[in-house]
């Protein structure tokens, strides 16, 4: 298939099926990592890295290339830094899936929140607001470890940045 035969929507749909390597219940599209798709003579996919040192960045680029190749397309990747990725880019569908998976989705991001660290995090299992932060700096740069004091379950919180 040459690029002219494929629509932007079709490519976006394919990209919507690629799971995030660290949280496979959400797709890279739902996480807001896919910024744009340009279909001209070829297909260019604009991807936004979540964190400068995110080890998943290159894995994601490779999975986009190989997934589109499976559909007969040699895509080019363009890395987009601006506007910077924040948790605000995660779609509503993505947030629901995170919650169902047991990861509390991020509340709105703000610089103040980032510095002060004050927020209410709801337990993704029982919905209680009675939760406590066990460690701000969790298993990956994007997660904090929490515990629900109502249902006593530990869970992860996807931090606002």
């Amino acid at each position: 298939m040459v690029a002219a035969d494929v629509s932007r929507e079709q490519v976006l749909e394919w990209l919507g099926q690629i799971p995030d390597p660290e949280i496979p219940v959400v797709s890279i599209a739902e996480l807001g990592i896919v910024r744009d798709v340009e279909v001209n003579d070829g297909v260019t996919v604009a991807l936004a890295p979540t964190y400068s040192g995110c080890p998943a960045t290159e894995v994601i680029e490779q999975s986009v290339i190989s997934s589109l190749r499976a559909h007969g397309i040699d895509a080019e990747i363009r890395r987009v830094l601006s506007p910077a990725w924040t948790t605000d880019w995660i779609s509503d569908a993505g947030r629901k899936k995170l919650k169902a998976y047991g990861i509390a989705p991020p509340a709105a991001s703000s610089k103040r929140d980032l510095l002060a660290g004050t927020r209410v995090v709801h337990c993704p299992r029982c919905g209680s607001a009675e939760t406590e932060c066990v460690s701000e700096f969790g298993s990956t740069a994007c997660k904090a470890a929490y515990r629900c004091t109502a249902c006593l379950e530990p869970f992860e919180y996807f931090k606002c940045i």
């Binding site: 890295p49 964190y51 400068s52 040192g53 995110c54 080890p55 830094l81 601006s82 506007p83 910077a84 990725w85 924040t86 610089k111 980032l114 510095l115 660290g117 460690s135 701000e136 700096f137 969790g138 298993s139 990956t140 740069a141 470890a145 931090k159 940045i161």
Partner: protein, 250 residues
Amino acid sequence: MTDSLSIYVQRLGDNALVLGQRMVELVTREPELEEELANANFALDYIGQARMFYQYAAELDGEGNDEDFYAYRRDAQAFMNYLLLEQPNGHFGDAIVRQYLFEVFYLMQLEGLAACNDQRLAEIAARAEKEIRYHLRHSRSWMLRLGDGTEESHQKMQRALEQAWRYCGEFFYSDAADRGVCKTLGLDLPEDLQSRWNEEVNELLSEATLERPGTPWIREGGRHGKHSEHLGYLVAELQHLQRSYPDASW
């Protein structure tokens, strides 16, 4: 201008790489699991930032180098990082003090860059600024907890502060390359950031019951390749594989 800008960007990359490498040395050495994870993730942020700065520097240089050239194929004297960042890790408090003093400065630098008129630098800085803001939450909380902790932790933090302090003057010194770049990009000169840095550091130190050291800011030269002996060992370890097996890849 391109030459000055290239030097300026390389310096940003060198700061990030050298501090990132020091933090990598702490992996598996942290006192508890949460710190282990926090440190390793922060180190990754620095390595990632270094890569973005080096990729840009390579384009500015136009000599066909790639990012790996700057990390793996230069001798220690060619690195232009601040001396504070190459100092050995010491104990946990030493590493926290180094992190805190540098990141208060680095965040101000990134905030300026994020609003500057070089689009590429502004984009990298906007990404990095969010990360450093988050790191600072970590280093600040430990400054307070250990400074205003037990008698022993307080003494160790005060001593760590005095050790690190002598290297901080270097943040606020500019040379011709800085002045040229700051003027063209519409940035504050490093010396103009000093009063804000003082204000913020003084406030935290007093809350942490630590005393601002009277040690003069006597050490400088890292940005011109005049380093302490420690950098040579750091670079030797960092570059060992590429030096022994040039262009080795997985």
